[in-house]
């Protein structure tokens, strides 16, 4: 016997219906919202489209310019010699992960705030946390490679280094938490609170070199007399632009992956519900042993009374 039809899905906004929009509410089709929907919606073939292609090409150009400035044009430093060229990959990565974790916290706050609550903020928080973890790892790896010839050790329990490692571990834990909690609504709320708490470490990490006696050098650019000049300054600024473009490109892709994952799970739940309904109408138990994932998903939907938040 055919399974009863599932309730029709709201297909707008394109990525996912907002939590605050109730049933029967007319979707907002303003140009701004349509543009945002287009930006965040994945296509039929994946997460790439014209926006990501433009961002990707701009990122590659910026990386090439940074490499040319940093490895060819920029002269060796008086004190650091050739090692100054590592500063064209390290500080910009650190700034990028600060921005990523800060964005994660802001998006989580917007998700928790009743007036702005939307699935989009949760998607953005997840995307920026994962991208931030990648840039944090780059920061630690390049910093360690710079520290070995400069300080004589690969690692030291300096305040800045320790806090950065703690941030990395914290946001890896945040990403793990997103995988562990099965109920979607609980997952979003709990993870939003956790992200805000973890992100409080970001300003502490940034100010660690000012607040404590550390081996790590103080801020290079954010001071009255910057420590770099001439082509070194140009190369460093180019590296910031390159990392910003790469970050934007990755965030758009990762956000769209998050949207697709959400749809994938919803489709899995819908299939499980249809299967259960068909079983109930047939009155048999011969449909086989349900897989744990499907059984848990359908139970969660039944308990919550809704499958599409």
């Amino acid at each position: 016997m055919a399974s009863p039809p599932l309730p029709a899905k709201d297909t707008f906004p394109a990525d996912a219906p907002a939590v605050r929009s109730g049933a029967g509410e007319v979707p907002d089709r303003s140009p701004t919202r349509m543009a945002v929907s287009r930006l965040v919606s994945p296509g039929r073939r994946g997460t790439a489209d014209r926006v990501t292609r433009i961002l990707g090409i701009a990122s590659l150009v910026a990386v090439a310019v940074t490499a040319w400035l940093g490895l060819v044009v920029s002269p060796p430093d008086v004190n650091q010699g050739q090692l100054v060229r590592l500063l064209y990959v390290h500080p910009a990565a650190a700034t990028t992960f600060y921005v990523a974790f800060g964005l994660c916290a802001l998006a989580s706050l917007a998700y928790l705030w009743p007036r702005t609550r939307s699935l989009r903020w949760d998607h953005l928080a997840a995307a920026s946390a994962e991208v931030g973890v990648v840039f944090c790892a780059i920061t630690l790896v390049t910093g360690s490679i710079w520290g070995r010839p400069t300080w004589g050790v690969w690692w030291t329990w300096d305040a800045r280094l320790t806090l950065t490692a703690l941030l990395l571990a914290s946001f890896i834990g945040y990403l793990a938490l997103r995988q562990i909690i099965r109920d979607p609504r609980s997952k979003r709320s709990v993870c939003a609170v956790v992200a805000i708490v973890f992100a409080l470490l970001v300003p502490v990490d940034h100010e660690a070199t000012s607040w404590w006696q550390t081996l790590h050098q103080p801020n290079t650019l954010l001071r009255p007399n910057p420590l770099v000049h001439g082509w070194q300054l140009v190369a460093m600024l180019a590296s910031f632009v390159a990392y910003a473009l790469i970050f934007a490109w990755l965030i758009v892709h990762r956000y769209r992956v998050e949207v697709l994952e959400e749809r994938f799970q919803e489709e899995g739940m819908a299939a499980a519900i249809a299967e259960r309904r068909a079983e109930g109408q047939e009155g048999t138990t011969t449909a086989g042993i349900p897989r744990p994932g499907i059984a848990m998903a359908s139970t969660s939907v039944a308990e919550n009374g809704q499958g599409n938040q």
């Binding site: 073939r45 997460t47 790439a48």
Partner: protein
């Protein structure tokens, strides 16, 4: 070029390339199984029967 400089630039490039490749690939695989937004209400489901994430 200084080997530490090469190692630092190479490590950063490698991490970014691998993560970018993984993210784009995840998107392509998921887009294959999930109908596009405009199709969500009327297209037949193409979702794989296994609810586990397919890219793993």
């Amino acid at each position: 070029m200084n080997s530490y400089v090469a190692g630092g630039w190479g490590a950063a490039a490698m991490i970014l390339i691998l993560y970018s490749w993984r993210t784009v690939r995840r998107g392509r695989i998921l887009a294959h199984y999930v109908p596009a937004a405009g199709d969500a209400g009327d297209a037949p489901s193409q979702v794989a029967p296994d609810p586990e994430k397919p890219w793993r």
